[in-house]
């Protein structure tokens, strides 16, 4: 486990709560607030005893040790100004690369589902259970998933044969993957579905023969059949139990194993896209150009030694990997899920500190949830967090496909980086530029490197430059003071001269 999980120690701190987020409110056992330093969880009195029991349990120790569960410690009022005397509060380290399920690749969904099932299985064996099982309880540290909801654990009735979170797991993990695989519904659409899909929704959309596939028959077809619409809700009765606790445990373990098998079946092999083979098939790059570009990026990384790097348009991750190997924690962003899947698999296989996020920087993921205050927008999570932002072979996408003016691209970059920005300028003569120009020569056909420099001049100065054999240019920019500081200074000077 890397240093991200080290809990801060020291004298009482004033922690500023993230004002863009509502404290969590669904769990009857407690609520979570995100502060600038850590995550703080208030435990309600009714859940105090069970929470303390869990914290003292060998299960918690084992899960934290394996890196599957976020570490916790009891926070005191002397430790943090938010904590009132007599209340139970827990402190967790803040994971900065917050990603939401609608920004994950299929492989990340699978990894998060397998983590949830693994933890559920361990909990069952130890006499506990997960009371909820949703991807929203999982975050990624680099490429590794981690369960972040300590309040998900509760003591289980040793004779109960029901896993109460089973329905939620099926709706929020399994059925979105089923919908993505067999119906082509993008995983990104889960942004609109907090509680996933109901079996009936999938059943109604599936072709008849698919409803009988072994992986889908029970969780889609049978579950729909058992829904029995029109049944009057009756008072809660005792759940099914077995007389023999060993049998109950056996049933629950079989259920967890069966769900794991279904997840593996449904995920299937990765598919290819226009961009997933881009690096290997790029015709506009001669090997010498690629080498020259790699050398310049490597030299830049050695020069600026960034701790946090944002790679916009990361594709399959050649440069994210380079940054990670240079010691940085990398957030790799790309709108092409298939390309990013390759990147994530590479990062997971080689245990590199690269977090992958399927997102389009030009149409960033919006804030979501109750009053748009449950889940942060992408830009709220990214702004001002990076020492170096990479925009390699991405600027022509923003100009031609998103039709973003260079000045706005400069403003966006200035809001993301604390200091450095590495841009690959793609001239209009470039084959990729020409492919998307599509007759708009008057608007975009005459842009030059100088236009880019001028557009970025209010916030950045050029610190280094490298022209490649294919006429693309790598420009390293360094931020000047506060965002827009130079522009403000220029405007003030202009006003002063006009007054005079």
């Amino acid at each position: 486990m890397n240093g991200l999980l080290d809990l801060p120690h020291g004298p009482a701190r004033y922690l500023s709560v993230d004002s863009k987020l509502e404290p969590t409110f669904r769990d009857p056992a407690g609520q979570l607030r995100l502060t600038d330093e850590c995550a703080l969880r208030r435990i309600y009195p009714a859940a105090r005893k069970e929470t303390l029991e869990f914290l003292a349990s060998p299960l918690r120790t084992a899960l934290e040790k394996s890196g599957d569960l976020i570490p916790s410690r009891v926070a005191s009022s002397g430790d943090c100004a938010l904590v009132a005397d007599g209340e139970l509060w827990l402190e967790h380290p803040r994971i900065d690369s917050i990603s939401y399920p609608w920004e994950w690749t299929t492989g990340q969904w699978r990894a998060a589902a397998e983590l949830t099932l693994r933890v559920a299985g361990q909990a069952i064996a130890a006499g506990w259970t997960l009371k909820d099982a949703t991807p929203l309880n999982v975050l990624f540290i680099g490429s590794r998933p981690i369960l972040v909801d300590v309040l998900s654990f509760e003591r289980r009735d040793p004779r109960s044969t029901v896993w109460l979170a089973y329905g939620q797991f099926v709706r929020t993990f399994l059925l979105p993957l089923v919908a993505a695989r067999y119906l082509g519904w993008p995983l990104q659409a889960t942004l609109l579905r907090r509680d996933g899909y109901e079996p009936r929704e999938i059943y109604d959309s599936l072709p008849r023969r698919r409803r009988f596939r072994p992986a889908l028959f029970d969780v889609v077809t049978l579950a729909t059949f058992f829904e029995r619409p029109g049944t009057k809700p009756s008072q809660a009765k005792k759940l099914p139990t077995a007389n023999d606790p060993a049998l109950a445990t056996h049933i629950l373990e079989k259920r967890i194993a069966r769900l794991g098998k279904k997840i593996r079946e449904v995920v299937g092999p990765p598919h290819r896209s226009q961009w997933s083979d881009y690096t290997q098939l790029a015709r506009h790059y001669q090997s010498g150009d690629t080498e020259q570009k790699q050398q310049f990026v490597k030299a830049t990384l050695e020069r600026v030694r960034p701790a946090h790097v944002l790679d916009i348009g990361a594709n399959t991750g050649s440069y994210s990997r380079m940054a990670a190997e240079a010691g940085a924690e990398v957030l790799a962003l790309d709108s092409d899920a298939a390309a990013l899947e390759t990147l994530w698999e590479m990062a997971a296989r080689e245990k590199l500190p690269i977090a992958a996020l399927v997102a389009n920087i030009a149409r960033p993921t919006p804030a979501a949830g109750w009053r748009n205050r449950e889940h942060l927008s992408l830009l709220d999570r990214l702004e001002g967090r990076f020492d170096l932002v990479l925009m390699l072979a991405v600027i022509h996408h923003l100009i031609l496909r998103e039709q973003a003016p260079l000045a706005l691209i400069g403003e966006l970059a200035a809001s993301l980086t604390r200091r450095w920005l590495l841009v690959e300028w793609v001239p209009p003569s470039d084959p990729m530029y020409q492919e998307w120009l599509r007759g708009r020569d008057d608007l975009y056909g005459k842009l030059t490197e100088e236009d880019l420099r001028q557009a970025l001049a209010p916030a950045f100065a050029v610190a280094d430059r490298c022209e490649l054999g294919n006429q693309r240019v790598l420009l390293l920019f360094e931020r000047m003071g506060e965002p827009g500081g130079a522009a403000i200074a220029a405007k003030t000077a202009q006003q002063e001269s006009s007054t005079a």
Binding site: T161, L164, R200, L239, I251
Partner: protein, 84 residues
Amino acid sequence: MKLLQVLPLVLMFMGALILAERPAYAYADPGTGLLALQAAGSALVAAGWYLRRKIYTFLQRGKPVVGNQEENASIVPYEDSRIS
């Protein structure tokens, strides 16, 4: 013969489990159909569990018994009881 005697009991047990499906005590929605599906699945696994126990007892019938016979008959090694 013994298996035939047990089967109706198993089927009754399965039916009872399926009918026992009701809104449950949970903060995450356990679903309706998915909760019933769990009950049905539990019944099937339980049926396998009991049948194996009966088969095990049946196969052990002719073998010499050491110690308390009644006690030994109810012991099924956990791994052996799993359905593959």
